[in-house]
Symmetry: D2
Subunit: 475 residues, 4 copies
């Protein structure tokens, strides 16, 4: 159970809500200029190839569940996105490489046309991985040539599409990692794909930071030039009424979660949503996804090991708990509310998405632990909180990066939200039912992809993302 130590961080004045994006982001016209955008295009497209570099063609075929896709498909689909939304409508010189790709690599854009059955993506072996690589190069060349050739008016119209395509590709980079991890976990040899992390020190105590309530502004303005890129679902920017609240200084760790487990957390329906409890029973959940009790029971991890992209390893006590569902996050919070610390209990809960956004809005996303500039060259695994002077001084750690944090907010349209017209409008709005919002990004999130207004969403039972939790409480 987390210890409680409400800190004395200076109260923030909410009347002048800060800009949702920190000053460091490259905004303004130069962001969408040809040079800058093409540089970014090459960097993002290259990062996808970095991630897939250690993968064999066989690895890239794996699809372990309907919700996941093969790496081969992710690499092709992100390419199809540029072909479909940029080159075909805007570049008269573009010649389609293979007309069949349209059907094979459309994901869910009904407005574009029919799609190959999602659960069967793993059943397509041709075009091969090498042909997909060639497709990527072909489209990369076409985009580059188009950027050179386009007149200014065309470029103005198209630069936002390229920007969108890059963010889209970054999302798929993360899914490629999580889908791959899920699929490889079926291999009893526990393949190690990416490097292992360095070992880490002892646990950091849990503190609290208080926030006074009031009317704040949340969401993104949608002004790409001024405020940088955001998905449509992040806006409109609007007023939100918050109450006084506190946030835990860091996510819940494996050690804390094991305490819940050892107290019978997975056996007691009291802590669970009704639907969560049905899942626990039907799927025999006894621990986070990928955990097995096959190690030394006397160890700090109580014998639990977990599958990671660097192989199966003992669960590290001070790392944030990861690969839990919303149901597990909520059950932990319900259980923690009943635990006595220093003779008293505290009602804790999951934060709302607005509380997290508000807390994050003054912080620099670049401080978060993300996938790195050459993704795949270091561990894709969350780290524990720091235990240093800065951390001791209070403040929030890991609000960006390491693990996505489940909120108690259902994914819903902001007031005044209206999806964009056409296929692009299918990006977000149609998923606004039966999904919960996660915030902050994870170690699998690409560098430079995160911002305070970012809304991720998954069904409440999903566990294959790098998802954890941070506690909140009322004041």
């Amino acid at each position: 159970m987390p210890t409680s130590s409400g800190n004395t961080a200076p109260k923030q004045d909410l009347s002048s809500a800060p800009s949702p994006e920190p000053a460091h982001a490259a905004h303004g016209p130069e962001r969408l200029g040809r040079t800058a955008l093409l540089d970014r295009f090459r960097a993002v497209r290259g990062a996808t190839e970095c991630l897939s570099a250690p993968l064999t063609p066989e690895d890239q075929m794996l699809q372990s569940m309907e919700e996941a896709s093969p790496a081969r498909w992710h690499r092709a689909h992100t390419t199809w996105f540029f072909e479909t939304f940029l080159l075909k409508p805007h570049d008269p010189a573009y010649e389609v490489l293979d007309p069949a790709y349209d059907y094979l690599f459309n994901s869910y854009y009904q407005a574009v046309g029919p799609q190959y059955s999602r659960p069967h993506r793993g059943l397509v072996s041709r075009p091969t991985v090498a042909e997909v690589t060639a497709y990527r190069a072909y489209v990369d060349d076409a985009v580059t040539a188009f950027a050179d050739r386009a007149d200014d008016a065309t470029w103005q119209a198209c630069a936002p599409l390229i920007e969108l395509g890059l963010h889209h590709e970054q999302q798929h980079q993360e899914l490629m990692v999580t889908d791959l991890k899920h699929a490889l976990s079926f291999n009893p040899r526990w393949p190690a794909i990416y490097p292992a992390p360095e070992t880490q020190a002892a646990e950091t105590p849990l503190g609290w930071q208080d926030f006074p309530g009031g009317i704040i502004l949340c969401g993104h303005t949608g002004n790409l030039t001024e405020d940088g890129f955001a998905y449509d679902c992040e806006g409109p920017r609007h007023q939100v009424l918050l109450r006084d609240f506190a946030l835990a200084s860091r996510p819940i760790t494996n050690a804390e979660f094991i305490a819940f487990m050892e107290d019978g957390g997975y056996c007691d329906p009291r802590w669970w949503h009704s639907e969560g409890w049905d899942r626990v029973c039907a799927e025999a959940w006894t621990a986070p996804l990928y955990w097995l009790r096959d190690g030394d029971a006397a160890s700090p991890s109580s014998g639990w090991t977990t599958y990671t992209l660097h192989g199966r390893v003992p669960v590290a006590p001070r790392e944030p708990v990861c690969h839990i569902s919303f149901f597990e996050a909520a059950a932990y919070a319900a259980w923690a509310s009943e635990q006595t610390v220093a003779g008293e209990t505290h009602d804790v809960r999951l934060p709302t998405e607005f509380e997290l956004e508000h807390a994050a809005s003054g912080l620099d996303p670049r401080a978060g632990h993300f996938a790195g500039t050459a993704p795949g060259t270091r561990a894709l695994h969350p780290r524990g909180a720091r235990l240093d002077a800065e951390a001791s001084a209070g403040g929030l750690q890991q609000i960006f990066g390491d693990v996505w944090e489940w909120t108690q907010s259902a994914y819903a349209p902001y007031p005044g939200f209206k999806p964009a017209a056409g296929a692009i409008g299918e990006y977000n709005g149609k998923f606004m039912a039966n999904q919960m919002v996660l915030r902050g990004g994870s170690v699998a999130t690409p560098e430079d992809h995160m911002r305070a207004t970012y809304r991720n969403f998954f069904p409440a039972h999903s566990r294959w993302q790098f998802s954890g939790l941070r506690l909140a409480r009322d004041l």
Copy 2:
């Protein structure tokens, strides 16, 4: 497509938010006094028997899906509720009629003990319907005797439990009706169980009522004595920030919904949530639940008939559309936003639960069309809006009764919500995931069971409740 006629209803002053309950409700100490409460006990218990009077023992066995229960079970379970939460813990003189009932008639209270498998409730033929009737009488007698005998302190403690038991039973009265309707719809002879309604007049035009935004109070105080009964999930009463909005003057009618259908509404993924579209395809939805196209295609109902508790009848154009899911309600709103009326389109949407509560808070629930004081003696079928002087003058019709209205609000805890300790705490909180809120009650809701703060909730795909929709829009 609804016509738009923003009216000029006087703006309400939101700074002094009205009490959530109208003045007519019997509040204060007398409400929980022995005489008044026992009168109500007899009335509510009798209403259940009124509803089941036309049912044969065979009818009372029917269970057509896991979510539904046999009438026999509803009648026993509501009785078990008084036995378990009132008589066994508080009445030392009470002798259990049959110990096996505890296992058979517990619904989902994990804290009470194990429960007989819900999907198999229809597989229990003994105790028989007559034995269930005897069980009801036995517990009724015990409660009456207990009320006579209990000292004042005991009564003070127990009266709220009786109150809760009565509201619980009223909820099951509605479920008994909706579950029965679902089960009987499998009978190709279309049994008529309750009386048919009187025929109704022509369609009432759709108007709009505007509401200015601001911070309002929503939810119930939880003060039973002062403000009357409410479920725990209706509180705490708390501040909500609303924007300027308008509500349609009445729910969408069958005629309006048929326009959506005839425009290909069920065939166009553009209007649907992704998960809703999956349902449309997987379950081949082409119309609201219970509708069949087996009538005269040239009729006002375009040949559609619907199963009702008075048999299969043509769909009546001016009645509110009923037995639709949240997905269908949202798809209708998305489609309606694209329709041109008098040369312009209006973005319409589903209201939030707070907008509906705010609009309802000044209105008298007793004006709604509910199941009546002797339920089952008149039609259990929604009526159309009135077309009279009062209606023409503007204002909201049918905000209470006829059909539940889907909102865009996911069912979530209010700020500061904490479930009650023990089994009673399982009543609401554990369902706060993947459910959408409905407001206002329906024709199957018992008389005197509704209030402005009442939150009903069902999964987004559910269609077997009397559920419809009312449009809202931003100003």
Copy 3:
């Protein structure tokens, strides 16, 4: 493990194969005469009502799986059979009671027309049980009147249809019992519907009777007048080549089956068909259907109890094991083949259907333990073998009655088999895939319904019939 004591019963001369029916059966023209047939009509129809007499309307609604039907439906369907195949085509005076019954009560006769969905038979509460009773009386009267009125030629044509209808009804009597038992087993109060049996004595040793091989005749001639009634699938009578074989003197008992269980029989894939093992794992079989280990572990039944139609009772060691699938019967035989008795093992196996028919062909079916002449007035539960002078002298016991005996024969057409034209032809032939033959009848089989050529059939995993096993072996 059964003891082996090959007896010295006189070898039968197979060259003159016996008639398939014993002399006692009422054959010849008188069998189909009006008086005799109407007597039998009344007796068989009355037996159905005997069986349903202790059932409440609620009991008659139960349908616990797709393969089973409610008692209410069995009573109506057997009535529909006479209406459809006798009265409607042959009695011009007949007036249909309710045209909707045709759709509701057709089982699977595609040639007659569409049928109400089988898995939903339990979802029809109207016509009520009382209306079904009235339907039975109405058709009974019509058949009686028709028999009085019909001219001789019509009677000649129709008598075989009545005969078929009576055998059809007798089959449904048995299914009504087995379906009811299955449904009632979901009731945790273990209802007792029919009387309990008298207690029985100690176990009878297992002996063997030898049979020399050769070409024998099997199957029925199809000559109703000469050889009595048989279903089409029992013919044509044809030559079968048998090898020398022996049959166990009685079925395997519960005590013997418990030995298999206690030796880990349900945990060892060695004994099982691959598909059987999949069932064991998927459905967690650890004992025959209806068995629970909730009794005294030191008892002769090792703590096993079983649900019977007289309530839940301890498993009786000397009764034949019952409610096992073909897979369990075959696994028992495989295990028994590896057991050492007096220092040696014997390959035992399930008999073929021809071996059982050949052994039964000289025996009197009336000696079997069947449901009795007033079914439901005594226990519907198999008895153990007798331990008396006759039994000690060798010979086969229980070849008829008590439990159906699984054979190793797949249900297949006999050489030259051709289904009858029209709907009647759907009776048997279309089920000749993925079914195994059982022989001999059970305690739930109506008196006077069995004969040596009778072929029952069920899928290999079925367990809800009164099915057991008798061992065979090669000589």
Copy 4:
């Protein structure tokens, strides 16, 4: 409908039943000598590599259903077989390449140990295809070295294991082809993997060959030295009683099957087994597997195309119908029995496995159209019957090769059959439930793998093997 022309082929004397194997097969000690057997070892192992040569690593990952396996797995599993049953128990010098392979590449041998989940075989990407190739080479070298080194006694004991391993591998060669075809059929680009066949001439008329009945010998002696290899389920050789019968001179062609389809064969429950009809409805069968109606409707194939391993092509009228289930074969026969040819109908049916074995026992398997000596270098697609002098003279064509022929015989143990002890005994016996026998081999069957006694078996609904039908009839 096939034409009937009972020929006058000389009646065969059944009293001296022919040897089950033709004279050409290499029997006797030399067959199991080191040189001959190692030659065969290299040839069979090489044939597997021939088949997989055109496959990319991606292709070798595909698993499209639980019943099928990836090519990668087939190649490893057949290697594991030699390692597990030959090298590990018999070669003390053998060093296991990777202990994890035991778990990964065991198929269903419970006696060997646990197995990796069959439905998830497609989810293992490591060891890679290249590592599997190395595994094959490693084991090939070990077997060769072992053969050089083993003393005579060891060799005598081991040669039958090698023989079994080779036949096992040949079975998997066929499965590799059929599984691959099934998986590739999910690719909308219809990959062509193997060469296309040469075009073929017009249809060959259907004739009949008569066979007199009597007691014949069927099955294999099990004498490897004298009679060559056979699986345990092919024995014991035993007497079978046949009646007079006739066999069609060739399998049913696509043109004949299209006549059934065009007469509404897939829409009329009259022709179908009950379970077959359920399949037709549930899986919307309207044609054999892989057929689509996307061609020219005026063509001889009525617009039907089919997926083959040389791409999607029009259905060739005179080729044997292929990829049909037992249910479709039986429905065709039922329909054909009602067709009038020259004013009369003939009851036709599927043959028994014994009729086909008897007819095949005098014929040379080498005459059949199999996969060839370098499989994968020519079309893997069935050819039509020849229309030449020999064919006109009567006699049976294609009794071996082209398409497996469904029989009406359920797969059951022959009299006296007992599975071998240990893991090898799991090869056949445990599948003897709910499977139908097919005879004769197909174009995907390896050269030199077929014999008259060979019993293949699949569930009645299976369609992904190269399975067709030949009619039989009683005389």
